[in-house]
């Protein structure tokens, strides 16, 4: 408006506090936990660091618990987790196509990110599987205006057999585009961190003629080791005490069944609870606790006598650390929590989910943790037999590292 006075403020460079914008993927539950842990370690290295989070549900719930500061533009983000739920079926999620079919949400959210960075005075952006930020910065390198640290726990879109030739072509094309972007614009990712070790990388190629994923990833990433987001040591040391607190009797063998927070777990939950009568014949003192989560009505499940149905269990990780066996989906966070807590478990990757069936499974097999189960080949009697076989198996798998958050923070800290 002509004639109207305006005030603007500019802070001299050396008078500025260090500022970072953190974007944590809302797909799955694990990124938020590990990112809060990494943020904590970063603050140890830069006590003056201010962190804003551009975040959405369910990340915001974790951030609120930790009193982290959420950027007001977060309210303008379109929901990725609702989209992923809408793409899920009966123990089925084609994760590659689901992310591909999220392109409208990703461009919307990138433009929100753009606005946050334009006005935020940030020195650094940290993106933990923030696909929109990484992709569109490579597509529009001239708009990058901060240092950028990229994190992921898998590299390479992989086709599932059910997708046929077409999916193999598409995943290779997506990988090729990513490789071209990173090699043409190495200045976009100032630091790329693989959350894991080189051995956790799948032995596959990116696609025909594109070379091995591991070789390329080792050349383009640093490695933080796994980031659990919590220290499992006290839980392991205090396990007997924990069992008492949670009301698990010494002669009880407790199986926890948990299928995550979305509705996609219902069919697995039904099958596992249907295995209880047979499993309890095989295992003395078997006690099964099934956690339905917010989207499944426990009353709708016709649970057999003896199965305890819960809608919600606070501090589920403590139950998982105290149980005798867990039955879970194939997501990285929950399975690695169990591996870190040194518990036996059965895991059922969602059908057509390339990350759970290939990347996560490869990593768990590297640790020697858990038993892979194929949902389609596991009627209740097979599940009962697996419960009986695994519940007493001695735990001898490779320990999960506990310094991942500190290692990740040490890699990021020099950027600010």
């Amino acid at each position: 408006m002509p004639g109207q006075s305006t005030t603007r403020t500019w802070t001299r460079a050396l008078s500025r506090r260090r500022r970072a914008l953190y974007i944590s993927s809302p797909i799955g539950l694990g990124h938020a936990q590990r990112d809060v842990a990494i943020a904590g370690e970063l603050r140890k290295l830069h006590p003056d660091l201010e962190i804003d989070w551009l975040a959405q549900h369910p990340v915001t719930a974790v951030l609120a618990e930790h009193r982290e500061r959420i950027h007001p533009l977060s309210a303008e983000l379109a929901s990725e987790s609702a989209h992923i739920t809408s793409e899920s079926g009966d123990h089925d999620l084609n994760a590659f196509q689901a992310i591909r079919r999220m392109d409208e949400i990703l461009i919307n959210n990138f433009m929100v990110f753009y606005d946050a960075v334009e006005s935020g005075g940030y020195d650094l952006v940290i993106g933990d599987e923030a696909w929109d930020v990484d992709y569109y910065l490579h597509e529009n390198p001239e708009i990058k205006r901060t240092a950028f640290a990229w994190m992921t726990d898998f590299v390479g879109w992989l086709p599932m057999a059910s997708g046929g030739e077409r999916e193999a072509y598409l995943t290779a094309d997506y990988n090729a585009e990513m490789i071209e972007q990173v090699e043409r614009f190495p200045r976009i990712r100032d630091k790329a961190i693989f959350v894991g070790e080189p051995e956790d990388i799948v032995p596959d190629d990116f696609g025909p003629g594109l070379g091995p994923i591991r070789d390329w990833t080792e050349r383009h990433f640093d490695f933080s080791g796994y980031v659990t987001g919590f220290d499992p040591t006290p839980l392991i040391e205090r396990r007997e005490e924990l069992r008492q607190e949670l009301g698990y009797e010494p002669d009880q063998r407790v199986v926890i069944v948990t299928v995550g927070g979305s509705g996609v777990g219902e069919s697995l939950l039904r099958r596992v609870i249907a295995s209880y009568p047979e499993a309890s014949r095989r295992v003395n003192g078997l006690r099964m606790i099934a956690v339905a989560g917010p989207r499944i009505d426990p009353a709708s499940l016709d649970s057999p006598a003896g199965v305890e149905m819960r809608a919600f269990v606070p501090d589920l990780y403590r139950h998982l650390a105290a149980c005798d066996l867990a039955v879970v989906q194939g997501g990285l966070t929950t399975t690695m929590e169990l591996a870190a807590a040194r518990r036996p478990f059965l895991y059922f990757p969602l059908r057509d989910h390339f990350e759970q069936n290939r990347h996560v499974r490869h990593r768990l097999e590297r640790y020697g943790a858990g038993r892979y189960m194929e949902y389609a080949a596991s009627p209740p009697e097979v599940i009962a037999a697996a419960i009986a076989e695994e519940i007493d198996r001695p735990i001898d798998h490779r320990p999960v590292e506990t310094d991942g958050a500190a290692r990740a923070a040490a890699l990021i800290a020099p950027l600010i």
Binding site: Y114, E139, Y169
Partner: protein, 315 residues
């Protein structure tokens, strides 16, 4: 088959048959606040309204081979600060499917545009259009300047500059070939309309790694049909001299966005259009094809934002 342009070595690309749940629209970033139908001359034109804020922005549909979802990378972003109106031209989306060529002419579409402005209660708007939306946009801007605050003309399909070589294939003749543009033929459409769509959109999004944009657009194309689309081949279009006259009457600010590898309209159209509207701002996208709003949405959205900011509205 999805066809890559001839000058790019193309790996064999298996058909996109089964990779999306059949017929289900993917989740949108934002859903309309209001859906309506404008009626004009017995025709029905479906539109959507999103968000609030001035100036209002209307996204004008191109050829009915697509519908308003072609703007999915723009609508939610601009609806954060503006009232956004998107509509389907008659022949696709939520509009009716006239097979009378008279419904598909440039003048008829311009009247439909005005009808949607009226029906949505929009006095004036910035008109953002792609490809064959541009002639109707310019008709409205020159004949009803009070309704148009600015024009954004992307990959304009206008009677200026040079037509893409090889596109002039007889539509009604029985041809002995199905090679490339020979697919733009009524008999081929009746045989394998989808194969035509895949060819067409492979040409439209000829940038490498455009599988998603091609698949989306093929999906939009399957919601019209060969007979309705065939009617557009006989629609009356504004001739060059008359069009130049309309251009000289445009007074509002104009932004033209033109890819230099546009294989549908040809790269010279936007350049000639900028000569015909001397106050227009021309943005050339090197390496860009005919659908930059889908393939390079960040660049296009930032250009539109800056254009609107310069009009004096919120940025």
């Amino acid at each position: 088959m999805v066809h890559a342009p001839a000058d790019r070595p193309a790996p064999a690309t298996p058909a996109p048959a089964t990779d999306a749940p059949a017929g289900r629209e993917q989740t949108r970033a934002r859903y309309p606040d209001l859906e309506g139908v404008a009626e004009r001359d017995g025709g029905r034109i479906g539109f959507e309204v999103y968000g609030a804020g001035d100036p209002p922005i209307m996204f004008v549909p191109p050829w009915i081979i697509v519908h308003s979802r072609i703007w999915k990378a723009q609508i939610p972003d601009f609806a954060r600060r503006h009232r956004v109106i998107a509509w389907d031209a008659r022949g696709n989306g939520r509009s009716d499917r006239p097979t009378d060529p008279a419904a598909h002419g440039d003048e008829a579409i311009a009247k439909d545009l005005l009808a949607v402005l009226d029906a949505s209660g929009t006095k004036a708007a910035v008109l953002v259009g792609l490809s064959s939306a541009v002639v109707p946009q310019i008709i409205v801007a020159s004949e009803h300047p009070d309704r148009v605050l600015g024009l954004v003309l992307i990959a304009p399909s206008v009677p200026l500059g040079e037509r893409v070589a090889g596109r002039d294939v007889p539509f009604e003749d029985v041809l002995e070939t199905e090679h490339r543009w020979a697919k733009q033929n009524r008999h081929f459409w009746r045989r394998d309309f989808r194969a035509y769509l895949e060819f067409f959109f492979g040409e439209m999004f000829n940038e490498p790694h455009s599988t998603k944009q091609i698949e989306d657009a093929v999906g939009y194309g399957t919601t019209t049909d060969a007979e309705t689309l065939g009617a557009t081949m006989y629609a009356s279009s504004v001739e060059r001299d008359a069009f130049l006259g309309l251009c000289t009457a445009v007074r509002c600010p104009v932004l033209i966005i033109q890819g230099d590898r546009d294989a549908i309209s040809g790269p010279s159209r936007g350049i000639e259009l900028a000569r015909a509207i001397p106050h227009a701002q021309l943005e050339v996208l090197e390496g860009g094809g005919h659908g930059p709003s889908g393939r390079d949405p960040v660049r296009v959205n930032l250009l539109i934002r800056a254009f609107i900011r310069d009009l004096g509205g919120p940025s």
